[in-house]
Symmetry: C2
Subunit: 516 residues, 2 copies
């Protein structure tokens, strides 16, 4: 990890041209280390507003409370911690949750089986992970259809290939061809087998979370897993103000195992939260405070991330909308609240409501991604492939988004102020009325000067015509097929592979298939 | 203007729901006042970097100098001001240009013939103006073809209709069906006749600039024009480090008449400037300092804008690329330099290299627009309609971009921290496990809570299928036709109209047609 870290730092200072050339020669399979931001944050909410929202969130926790449903253990722990319990409703003395969160790390390492791919979650780091959750896939050849385990493997392979995807993610699509109670084995296994980037565990049942931890132990070793984060896991609140049995069950398994939980209010503002930005932020903060603090009741020091999934609903259709100004402000504000709380932050991605990889998809995704990055988001789920409000994983959309991620990564390097960056020699050499195309400075920096898009067509109009007037999604269709055709699996120790296969077989054989 | 200004300020404080509802009832013809930013700026370049670039720009001005070609008057004025003249080359004592620019206003009003449409250029104001310059148009019905005066009128009408376009712009497309030496009459007239928003004058010949001023005087009155800005005009440097006779001629006409010049280095980095961000910023600053200071030699106090057109060239094809990280950093940095210089700033827009209104166009345009807005850009040319590196004005692209502009305008209002914005009553009313769809707060804010896109499809997948699986550009095709069909020209005083017609006839009759 330190090698590649050095590489990124070198480039920031303008000394990494050679490293870039090397990556280019090596092709798309060469991964970039996670982003270490060298540009400032964008903080649109002022001190007054943040303090107001924090005070209001404390009032929500104190007066209204949060429900921890069907989990006696949770209620007992909260009672012992000093909260007021009324049925499933937990009311918190002002400041209790913040106090509990003091044991949570402000930043932590999630280890990958290839140490060069391990990522930092927190601080100035930003990690891009693929889309999570869609039951459908879409591509130009087949249109939209239910996803299969084959699609799942394909998206793992694409994420492995994409230079600016730093993480293999979790449910890159839902393999609905496999039994619902067994598919988690194949999903976790696919991340391990077809990638060497860090990945996410199953959260749909406490036993599936336990299986994820057990499989991780076969890869990393029992003791290493107990002392280090090797899984990061998505724990959604049932907004407004409810955590349910399933999510609490998974949270407890992971926190107890010392693995990371992303506590995320899944918000469609207007339905799960108030229709205003400040009101939504208040509820989001209250929910995260309660859920994240709970991880510290389970195991003080367990890594936990402040999650925020911000969308608003269309007041016409009730459907979620993305890339619009209000959720953008929610994401920015939540990032600021997370920093004040001192824990890492997750939001955004390349979100869109569009059914296809058209201009709507791109406008919405770019709006979301730009704000996600400038907010200093540490863990970016749905960074590539998201379509149709999360109902479909798009093959073309995936590689198009990856191109944007690589641009963001370059942007985060900031401005090179070295002598080479200042380029005074070039200005002196060229002088008025000439051009820079052939000058020594241009020749020296030619290959690495500008980000080269993998998708954009920057050719002449005539050449574009001659090549068939292709739209971006049509070029993307060629690219993901090329990536899959050229994919080569990273090596996996045979003993580990056998142990994983054996574990899965025993698990699968122990229960009948379930499909709902 | 103050009425509509109040309206915007009211909305920021959450009290403008009624104003929004009114605009919605009034339809798309209801214009928004220019943006008065209520969110902070994004400043990615640090103090150290900015000071370094400023010092380097002074070195460029002092050692290398800038050429003012084929303009004896310019050289004489510079000599008198204390510069060193060597042929066309002007070398400037350190600090001279900055000193001269102290007479330039930090902010000024450009008046529209409808006072409610006048705009502020500078400070916290952002003004969106349409695409400028393309010889071609593109739409889904006809593909790409040469533009005509009919297209020109159409884009003026679309800009008049678009709520978040605050300015009628200039060469919204090049009407190549008209003689090159006479078309400026019809262009200026179209802006006056078919819109009541502020507009731009002709810069392709000093006489055409003089005609633009003369026509403006027929509309606003001789004395008003002498004492107020009614035209803003695009003066491009011939980068690197040259101003040519045509641009200097137009600049002198406008500055002498007290009208605004946007002094803009037109940069394709790698060709017209060094391949690095800091090097490009150095040259841009040097060129703007020289060109902008020259306006103050012509008429101290004449409004002048720091312009920056930032692109990089594809190192494969030599074609310009847009929406990529390096030009984004250039735009941000130039905005910071302009603020330190104390004059208004122009950059960005919705720029793209894509030939069609596809995902590439949208990603690139959104990347450009997001940074343009967060940079605090005061005058945004090319805010809508730009395609193919500026070679084509796109009908569908125009209305798609307008949707994005309206979103940016909403974003710039920032977060409403009023009691209604905080929504504590809503959170109390709803409580855990319920939803906000029917609650009193949602009902009260229903119509104005979230920005409603004019282009995005947020319907269910099934409804989208039933409606023909339309892409965003296909929906945009319907929208621009609707806008043109529903367009109604603003009233124009008959006497003024006759005077304009008469002026144009005399001008056209005075010379033979030229087509090259």
């Amino acid at each position: 990890m330190s090698d590649t870290g050095e590489e990124v730092r070198g480039r920031r200072r303008g000394g990494g041209a050679e490293a870039r050339r090397e990556r280019r020669r090596a092709g798309s399979g060469t991964s970039l280390t996670y982003i270490k931001r060298n540009v400032p944050l964008y903080d649109p909410v002022g001190e007054e507003g943040l303090a107001l929202i924090e005070a209001n969130a404390d009032t929500v926790l104190q007066e209204i409370g949060i429900e921890f449903r069907d989990d006696e253990e949770a209620l007992t722990l909260w009672r012992q911690a000093g909260a007021d319990i009324d049925g499933a409703r937990v009311r918190f003395p002002r400041g209790l949750c913040r106090e509990l969160l003091k044991t949570a790390p402000s930043s932590f390492t999630q280890h990958a089986r290839n140490p060069a791919r391990s990522v930092e979650i927190g601080g100035k780091a930003t990690v891009f992970a693929p889309v999570y959750g869609p039951p459908f896939i879409r591509n130009l050849d087949e249109g939209r259809r239910y996803a299969t385990i084959e699609d799942f493997r394909n998206f793992v392979k694409l994420a492995y290939t994409a230079p600016a995807i730093h993480h293999s993610g979790g449910t890159v699509c839902e393999p609905v061809d496999l039994p619902v109670n067994k598919r988690h084995y194949d999903m976790v296994y696919s991340h391990i087998r077809y990638s060497d980037k860090p990945f996410m565990g199953s959260v749909t049942h406490p036993q599936r979370a336990a299986d994820s931890v057990a499989m991780a132990k076969l890869v990393f070793g029992e003791e290493f897993v107990d002392q280090n984060c090797v899984l990061i896991n998505l724990i959604n609140a049932n907004s407004p103000m409810v955590f349910d049995e399933t999510m609490l069950g998974a949270l407890k398994v992971y926190a107890r195992a010392g693995q990371a939980c992303i506590v995320t209010p899944f918000i469609l503002a207007g339905a799960m939260s108030p229709v205003t930005v400040a009101g939504t932020l208040t509820q989001v903060l209250a929910e995260v405070l309660a859920g994240a603090a709970f991880t510290q009741l389970i195991r003080p020091g367990a890594p936990v991330v402040f999650g925020c999934f911000a969308s608003s609903i269309s007041m016409q259709s009730g459907a979620p909308t993305f890339g619009t100004p209000e959720p953008t402000l929610v994401s920015y504000g939540a990032a600021q609240l997370a920093r004040r709380l001192g824990i890492p932050f997750r939001t955004g991605g390349s979100l869109c409501a569009s059914k296809v990889a058209d201009a709507q998809a791109a406008y919405e995704s770019a709006n979301t991604l730009n704000s996600t990055v400038l907010a200093g988001t540490n863990f970016v789920l749905h960074a590539a492939g998201w379509l149709e409000g999360g109902l479909a994983s798009g093959y073309e959309k995936f590689v198009m988004d990856c191109d944007q991620l690589a641009m963001q990564q370059r942007f985060c390097e900031g401005v090179d102020l070295s002598e080479n960056g200042q380029a005074m020699d070039a200005i002196r050499e060229v002088g008025p009325g000439s051009h820079y195309l052939g000058c020594a400075h241009t020749q020296a920096n030619f290959e690495t000067a500008f980000y080269r898009s993998t998708i954009a067509d920057n050719n002449s109009y005539e050449q574009w015509l001659a090549e068939g007037e292709k739209r971006a999604d049509e070029r993307a269709n060629d690219l993901w097929k090329k990536w899959l055709a050229e994919y080569e699996a990273p090596a996996l120790d045979e003993g580990i592979d056998e142990a994983l296969q054996d574990y899965m077989k025993r698990g699968k054989d122990s229960m009948p298939d379930a499909f709902a």
